[in-house]
Symmetry: C2
């Protein structure tokens, strides 16, 4: 099985690539090659199969086609401009999030057999806000450009699946915690920062109240969902290729409770109306019944999420940041 | 008020242009100019204001910008490749229905004040089938490329409205009856043909049973909805710019009952499983409660629809077809 990861230099793309290298197979099929594609050329990866690392523009059909060679059976499309960045630069968001997906569809159409396409959509494609518990058939009424672009991309991938150009599964990822690295431009960055920064001994701002609720998943759980979506039987999905996976509904206070008192003291209340306005529009909980029926596994609790971060990413984050 | 109609050479575009010419004003504002834009240059129109007729490509930002001059207050975006054509030619559908709308957004962004954009989406953007009575918050899970492209375009227009680039209202039109002209290969063609052809003294096939239900509107009612959407206060819409207007849920039998016995005898039962499978996927009824609250008027019954066709379009259809 030949695999391509678009956005293969990113946080989740790298984790998925490392997992594929460790497993050597996916869904019982031997992996014969992996292409990692990103704006900047992804770092080399040791693996039991050839790994090609390419730099390119995801909105360029030529670049994306080059990254999806004949025989590709799985395309993992993680390349995205995240929420706050897409809000700040509308054209960049449209280019990467919408036209990038159109380029993926075009590139996949050129293959002799339709590849599985795993697309990461987002909780940000829904409205609803703090009081929402969204059913599986909830309408996507995004309140931000990132979410609108992701929802539009889902529709186009769904139709491309119906047409037989590809075979898409779109996972609407919850807010992923704990992300390593530094605080970034995602409006949701603080959900990771309020756990990560205290573990690094650093102060960090909290822009919303402790009763603010958020729908989250861990990087480990996201990778499990990716592997399931990459190998699952898509016939039971029918036309509807969107999956609300079984994440965890948790309050900021419940997240902070997993820290020690000393760590918690490093989280500083600094209300930020702009950030609250964006994340406040996202639904705080999903039913996710269909995903469970389809075999997507349940996100564990915050203590397990924090333990996984300590195990997987804390040391590397400390090193990367010179701490 | 300067107005542009994209798709101004089409059936509904022409009717709207003629109505604007007759009224000379819209929502209490004097019309100062009208641009009609279509793939082929629209025919001249006598009006109490200057009318510019342009040929161009709706997917070209340059062409569309030329058709939307500075000071334009209303853009009516009717340009589309319809269901059967978009299904037969995926690239053409994407070009006109998706990239055309992207060009409209780009052209509107260049104006100094955001224009009202009236967009025609479609019942084909929903699934559901004969048993469905779709609530206002029903999710769009299209089962055809036309519907997917329209739903994606709605999302992007909605976000462009939120960003202040334009001020969109998207009307998801029911099946429009009675269309003038000839029967064609479109799956929905028979809904007009079973009324129009008998009035012309011609036989016509009926591919579904008489209990088959369909969500319809008349051309007259569609124009009234357009005029309301063009002038309404959009603040109550909030982020959600999609309108399911108050159409009419009617069975084929109820439609035929509006004909005389002699006319009805010209409608020949010719079951067609392929056509039934396509139109059978469309929802047969919508709640349309929100639209009523927002002041969209109710579609009248079949007798009124038939009377309007006799008054507005029957003679011209007879002449056009040499009957």
């Amino acid at each position: 099985m030949q695999i391509t990861i678009l956005g293969g230099g990113g946080f989740l793309g790298r984790k998925l690539a490392e997992r594929l290298a460790a497993d050597g197979a996916l869904g019982g099929r031997i992996i014969t090659g992996l292409t990692l594609f990103d704006l900047a050329q992804p770092a080399p990866l040791a693996a039991p199969f050839p790994v090609t690392c390419l730099a390119g523009d995801v909105a360029s059909v030529a670049d994306v086609s080059h990254a999806i060679p004949p025989g590709t059976g799985l395309v993992v499309h993680l390349a995205a401009v995240v929420s706050a960045a897409a809000e700040a630069d509308f054209d960049l968001g449209m280019r990467v999030n919408l036209h990038g997906t159109l380029a993926v569809i075009e590139a996949c159409r050129k293959l002799s057999a339709p590849p599985r396409v795993l697309f990461t959509s987002s909780v940000a494609s829904f409205g609803g806000g703090q009081s929402a518990l969204l059913p599986d058939d909830a309408r996507q009424v995004p309140t931000n450009s990132y979410g609108a672009q992701k929802a539009a991309a889902e529709l186009l991938l769904q139709d491309a699946s119906r047409k037989g150009f590809l075979d898409a599964v779109s996972i609407r990822l919850p807010t992923v915690i704990v992300r390593p690295g530094r605080p970034n431009k995602a409006a949701s960055s603080f959900f990771s920062a309020i756990l990560r920064e205290p573990l690094l001994g650093l102060e960090t701002p909290l822009p919303v109240g402790e009763d603010f609720r958020v729908w989250v998943c861990s990087p480990r759980r996201a990778i499990e969902w990716f592997l399931h979506a990459a190998a699952m039987d898509t016939v039971p999905l029918g036309v509807d290729r969107g999956i609300n996976p079984p994440g965890l509904a948790v309050s900021v206070g419940e997240m902070l409770a997993a820290l020690s008192a000393a760590e918690r003291a490093l989280v500083k209340r600094e209300p930020d109306a702009a950030i609250a306005a964006i994340v406040g529009g996202w639904p705080a909980e999903f039913a996710a019944a269909r995903a469970r029926t389809l075999g997507f596994s349940q996100q564990e609790g915050v203590p397990e999420i924090l333990a996984a971060f300590r195990e997987d990413d804390l040391d590397a984050t400390r090193t990367d940041r010179g701490l």
